[in-house]
Amino acid sequence: MADQSVDLQANAASEQARPSDSLSPEILLEMYWYMLLSRRLDERAWILHRQGRIPFHISGMGHEACQVAAAFAINRGVDYVHPYYRDLAMCLAVGMSAEEFMLGLFGKAEDPSSGGRQMPSHFSHRKLNILSMSSPVATQVPQAAGLAFGIKYRIAQQLQDPEDETQPRLALTSLGEGSTSQGEWHEGMNWAGVHKLPFICLVENNIYAISVPMHQQMAVPNVADRAAGYGVEGIVVDGNDILASYDAMVRARDRAYSGEGPTLVEAKTYRPVPHSSDDDDRSYRSRDEVEEWKRKDPIARFQQYLLDRGILDQNKIDEYEARAKQMVNQSQSYADEAPYPEIAPSLDPSSVYAPVDK
């Protein structure tokens, strides 16, 4: 059975002053809300796929805690985010709407990611400084190092005031553990280390790259162990614990903002569903393993935490669920009825070039 135990001993040192302790009930509930909304949208996407109403879905289920934690640690909508296909919860928390996600699923013209040119969950949102991702894995990592290089350069050349919170002050990128086998990842990490860039790499380690387990990707037990080889700080965290993830991300953010340099946060998590709507995971992992991980569901866990502290009660849960359901329904109908992209401009060769006087 795949092991994802996190050395809690290592995290115990920082137990005294945890940044998550100062999160207000309102913020905690907002975090809960984004996790929940992401999950309900995700579930609906699977249903739409089974109904034959959308051709493809790739899920972020099980990863919601570390993603929302990452978003809440940074300056959302301002700092650069160069995500990967599982980051629905992250993108929602950064500011992407349920409708915008649905528009992408249906391949509609208004889809802010690509106007229906890319497969769903290939996120991009110019207004929110979410960069555009492609399908080849890990390509975003050295680009994110380039964004971080750009920030450092802009500050050094006085093109940007380092205190100006309306400007991006770090670049956050994310990918799966399997994708860290790519040269792209290594080269990006190396630049981040060499130039001490304001860069965060969040590795959402769900133990599998489609079917291939972690130990066939690398000879070390943690992706974070490799960070030292690049002069990058590596942190391992329980990615299903939103508050622990938040603490790790805040540390990474503070390092980025203060010029201390790049951080790799490895969030140990699990994907309780197949890799994508085209996958059948029964050939490579046991049902027992999947069931065991479902019991560690990050949303149920956070919900219990909030219930225990009286921040949440059953009424509120029902209210949130009703709100999420309504939002999912509304956004689905909106996207379903929205127009497809016009054919001619989408296939016009001149549409591949930005106008020169722009």
């Binding site: 650069y80 160069h82 889809d111 802010p112 990611s113 690509s114 106007g115 040119r117 890319q118 290939h122 991009s124 110019r126 960069l131 555009s132 492609s134 080849p136 390509t139 990592v141 050295p142 680009q143 994110a144 190092a145 380039g146 964004l147 971080a148 290089f149 750009g150 920030i151 350069y153 802009r154 050094a156 050349q157 093109l159 991006p168 670049a171 040269g183 792209e184 080269e187 990006g188 190396n190 630049w191 060499v194 060769p349 549409s351 591949v352 070039y353 930005a354 106008p355 020169v356 722009k358």
Partner: protein
């Protein structure tokens, strides 16, 4: 106006752009104190500082990817690949990322970056210091590809490339870095990316060429003018992508005969596209076979001297080809 070499013109363009726009920076291998292995960036780190002329790790993929990221952070990177032959590790970032960014984000993200790379054979560089790769990239919408032949064009086109909101691949004929000289104005001017340039007028045959081969074409045209009284027109293509279809057709309407020269491999090369344009859109003007003179279909230019010379198109080979076509 002063006479300058190709590489001086290129350096001057970078120097002036660094001066004029604080967003412009250079990165690549050995571009700093060494000034590049060909010395294209010589003196620039001393003048503009190590924050703007940055020696990169020895990793081409990251040179391009850092450029892409920095470009999206509103900088204007100039990324130097030491030899075009070493650009392959960065293929994914160029073709899948830089080239597709504008389209895939539905026009919301742009990648205003310039990639400079010395290309071409005839310099005893063997298989991995001689490659011409324009055709490989020309099949990739979203890139612009520029190959200047004169120092004047090199400076003006490089400035246009740096200011262009799209990724531009700027291939430099390394054999001509010091051999090619020409008049270059001091100070700012640009040459637009796109239009071809007629380097020599003539009514009998049109020669299409770019980079080093444009010089050979002019030389060959002068030879056949003197020796055979053939008036060959030389169209310096300059921009490989996007294709200036009208510019290409224009000269052919007059001559009806075409010879396309390139040192890249013959098959599936740039010449095939020019021939297709001429036969499709210029059929009624056609007055003879459309011929290509190009590198043979072996991996690249072999090292051994006689084999290298046999690989490369030369003014003499071009002159012979012109004569053949002119006879039709």
């Amino acid at each position: 106006m002063a006479t300058k070499t190709l590489i001086e013109a290129i350096r001057e363009a970078m120097d002036e752009e660094l001066e004029n726009d604080p967003r412009v920076f250079i990165t690549g291998e050995d571009v700093g104190p060494r000034g590049g292995v060909f010395r294209a960036t010589m003196g620039l780190i001393e003048k503009h500082g190590p924050e703007r002329v940055v020696d990169s790790p020895l990793a081409e993929l990251s040179i391009i990817a850092i450029g892409i990221g920095a470009a999206m952070a509103d900088l204007r990177p100039i990324c130097e690949i030491q030899f075009a032959d070493f650009i392959h590790p960065a293929m994914n970032q160029i073709m899948n990322e830089a080239a597709k960014m504008y389209y895939r984000s539905n026009g919301t993200w742009t990648v205003p970056m310039t990639i400079r790379a010395p290309y071409g054979g005839g310099i005893s560089g063997g298989l991995y210091h001689s490659q011409s790769l324009e055709a490989l990239f020309a099949h990739c919408p979203g890139l612009k590809i520029v190959i200047p032949s004169t120092p004047y064009d090199a400076k003006g086109l490089l400035k246009s490339a740096i200011r262009d909101p799209n990724p531009v691949l700027f291939f430099e004929a390394k054999k001509g870095y010091r051999a090619i000289k020409g008049e270059v104005p001091d100070g700012d001017y640009t040459v637009p990316i796109g239009p071809v340039n007629v380097r020599r007028a003539g009514d009998d045959v049109t020669i299409y060429a770019y980079g080093m081969m444009a010089h050979y074409a002019v030389e060959a045209a002068n030879m056949v003018a003197e020796q055979d009284g053939i008036a060959a027109e030389v169209v310096d293509v300059r921009t490989i992508l996007p294709v200036d279809r009208e510019g290409i057709l224009e000269s052919f309407k007059k001559t009806g005969k075409a010879l396309i020269i390139y040192e890249d491999n013959l098959t599936m090369g740039y010449g095939a596209e020019v021939a297709a344009i001429l036969s499709d859109e210029g059929f009624e003007y056609m007055d003879g076979p459309i011929r290509r003179l190009a590198g043979p279909d072996v991996p690249s230019v072999p090292y051994s001297h006689p084999v290298q010379e046999a690989f490369m198109p030369s003014p003499k080979k071009i002159a012979d080809a012109i004569r053949e076509i002119a006879e039709y």
